[in-house]
Structures are given as structure tokens and as C-alpha cells.
Amino acid sequence: MASEPQGGLTEYIQHHLNHMTVNFSTDHFWFWNLRADSIIISFALGAIFCLWFWLFARKATSGVPSKGQALVEIIIEFVDTQVKDTFHGDRRTVTPLALSIFMWVFLMNAMDLLPVDLFGWIVQTVSGKEVAHHTYGRIVPTADINTTVGLSVAVLLIVIGHGIKAKGGFGFTKELFTAPFHAHSPVAKIVLAIPNFLLNVVETLSKPVSLAMRLFGNMYGGELVFMLIAGLMVSWISFVPGVVFNTAWAIFHILIIALQAFIFMMLTIVYIATAREHH
């Protein structure tokens, strides 16, 4: 991925778009690349979320809550209300899933608000310029397509699991061939089976693709804009507009961060609710 140094903004951005990559195979086949930055940061953020909520869950009281517990409860009730409005059934597994998605995606998105050069600056300060030039790292895990696809495929598996659980293995498979076009005569049923199946495959596959691409596109684009604005600050002439744009974009981005996390969560709930419906 690393291209020849071209200097200026192009090089700066290309440098920033490289992942910290570890390869586990001898022939360096691209599939065996592991993006350590995405993995480590997302895992750390997940751990922070778990620790944070667990600390309050451990000493949760039904009496007067502390401010910390109240905050955690507000988040939980917010998520639970969304689930309650969309999904009518046993919420004991659905709400925790929605909560995990919302908080994890939100925290990963929020990494976008850290200064784009913070990571590089730390590496340079600790290890020197030479190391920094060869060290790549991106701090927004959701701006990595692997993260978003990983999430959306996991969600797809959960959605299919819900479908099978609600309708049974046979009912679920049968519905793949009999919906959305319903027929009453046997001949028409056979004729419609193929188009039905194709439509269902497309519909099922479009779910994770749209989920993953939406989140990835938003976060990748947002990151890119931050980098372009950072490029403005190189010159003293454009420094002040650079600061203004950076602030404006960061404030706007707070909305996108929360909104994308919310959309990912909501769509997951909607998919689960639809999967449990009978056609």
C-alpha cells in the first residue's frame, strides 16, 4: 500500500491511511494481514465499555443511584426504549446486543475526534522520527472496512439465528422459497420458488453490506476530511481557517458519530424484528 514519497499533502494523507499491519503467513498473502491498530484499539475500547458498565452493574442499587449509575442507566434505558418500540418479544438478549453495538460503535467512532496526528506525535516523541516514518497507525477502527464488515456479518448471523429460532429450521428454509411472492397453486409455487429465493438472497446479503458500507463510508470520509483540514494548518496563511474548519467539522462530526452508532443499532433491531415475523 505504501507508495513512493510524493511530498506534500498527498504523501501526508497516504501515510495516514496506512494500517499497522502484521502478517502471519510466510508468503505474505494479503488475507493473513492483521490490522493490529484496528484490533488493539477496538478491543481496548470494548474493554473500557465493559469495565465502565460492569463497575456500575456490580454495585447497582435499586435505591437512590449515584450519578455514575444514573448515566449508565440513562444509556441503557435509551437503548431499551428503542428496542421496546421496534421489537416485541423477549428482550433479554436483544437489548444487551443493541447496547453493545451502540456503545462499541460510538466509542470507536469517537476516536475520530482525537487529533489526526496525535498517534504519530506520540510515536515520534517516544521513539524518534525514523521509527515514526515507518510506523503506521489509524486510530478509528470503524474507518477500517474489516471492523464494520465484521460487525455486520456477526449481526447477519444473529439475525439468521433469530429467524431460525422463531420459525424453526424448516419454516425458515421454506420461507426463503415462498416469500415475498405468495402463490396458491402448486405450479405457481414452483415457478415462483426461484425468483423468491434469489430475492431473499439479495435481501439477506444487502443487509450486512449496507450496514458495513454506511458506517465505513461515514467514518472513512470523516477521517479524510480531518486530514485534509489538517493539511490547511501547514501554512501560516491558511492556519486560522484551518482551525475554524477543524472545529466546525469536529462539532458536526459529533452528530455523525452518535448518529451512525444509533443507525447501526436501530437497523440491527429492525432486522431482528423482521426476521422473527412470519410471512
Binding site: 494479503w30 488475507f31 458498565f53 456500575f56 452493574a57 435499586s62 435505591g63 444487551p96 447496547l99 472496512i145
Partner: protein, 156 residues
């Protein structure tokens, strides 16, 4: 835009995260929230009940105060009547006493007057005897004329 091992790694991370949330975070916090909701609902119901009870108690207190006031009025009335009766009785007794004393005094006066009259009569008898002695110049034997003298005294 390449899909690689990271994808699997993120899926596993996600699975762990969901498992942890489902097991250690959601049940405890949701339990606390639901329990508090129940407590608040119970508290509101209790407050409502207490308000109704207070209203009842207020009404009861008012009726009891009214009753007590009535009773006290009755007692005062009764006491006044009793006092009147006592005074009346005392008056009657006093009047009787006065009348009795008056009658006694009148009797005494009457008997004293009687006695005085008798003494007077006796002395008049004696004076009459002495006067007659002087007139007759001789002694009259009181013993011989006792019946006569007594008759004279009785006539005076």
C-alpha cells in the same frame, strides 16, 4: 479496502463483547432499574393511600371534636341545673329555719309574758292582802284564807 484476518478478529471481539454485556452488565442494571421502578410505583401508591387515610382521620377528628363540644355543653347545663337546685333547696331550708326560730321566739315571748303576768298577779294579790290587812288592822291568817286569796289572784 481489503478484507483480511482483521475481519475475523473483530467478529470474535464483538462476540466476546456481546456475551459479556448479556451476562454481566444487562441483567444487573436492568434488574436495579426495574426494582426501582417498582419501588417508586409502590411509594406513589402508598402516598395515595396515606392521603386517603389522612382525609378519613381528619373527618373523624372533626366529628369527635363536635361530639366533645356537645358533651361539654351538656355537662355545663347539667351543672348549672344542679347548682340552681342546690340554691333552691338551701333557700327553702333557710326559710324553714327562719320560720322555726321565729315560732320559737314567739313561744318564748308568749311564755315570758305569761310568767310576767302571773308574777304581776301574785304581787298584786300580795299587795291587795297587805292593803286589806292595813284596812282591817288585823292579821289575816294566810292559811285560813288561802283559797280566797288564790281566787283573787286568779281573777286579777
Amino acid at each position: 479496502m481489503e478484507i483480511n484476518m482483521t475481519f475475523l478478529g473483530q467478529m470474535i471481539s464483538f462476540a466476546i463483547l456481546v456475551w459479556f454485556t448479556t451476562k454481566f452488565i444487562w441483567p444487573q442494571l436492568n434488574g436495579a432499574i426495574e426494582e426501582r421502578q417498582k419501588k417508586v410505583a409502590d411509594g406513589l401508591a402508598a402516598a395515595e393511600r396515606a392521603r386517603a387515610e389522612l382525609k378519613d382521620a381528619d373527618a373523624k377528628v372533626a366529628s369527635e371534636i363536635k361530639q366533645a363540644r356537645q358533651q361539654s355543653t351538656d355537662i355545663i347545663d347539667k351543672a348549672q341545673a344542679q347548682a340552681n337546685a342546690i340554691i333552691e333547696k338551701a333557700r327553702v331550708e333557710a326559710t324553714d329555719e327562719i320560720n322555726r326560730l321565729k315560732a320559737q321566739a314567739q313561744d318564748e315571748i308568749a311564755s315570758m309574758a305569761q310568767r310576767a303576768r302571773e308574777q304581776l298577779r301574785e304581787q298584786v294579790g300580795k299587795l291587795a292582802v297587805q292593803g286589806a290587812e292595813k284596812i282591817v288592822q288585823r292579821e289575816i291568817d294566810p292559811a285560813a284564807h288561802k283559797a280566797l286569796l288564790d281566787q283573787l289572784a286568779a281573777e286579777i
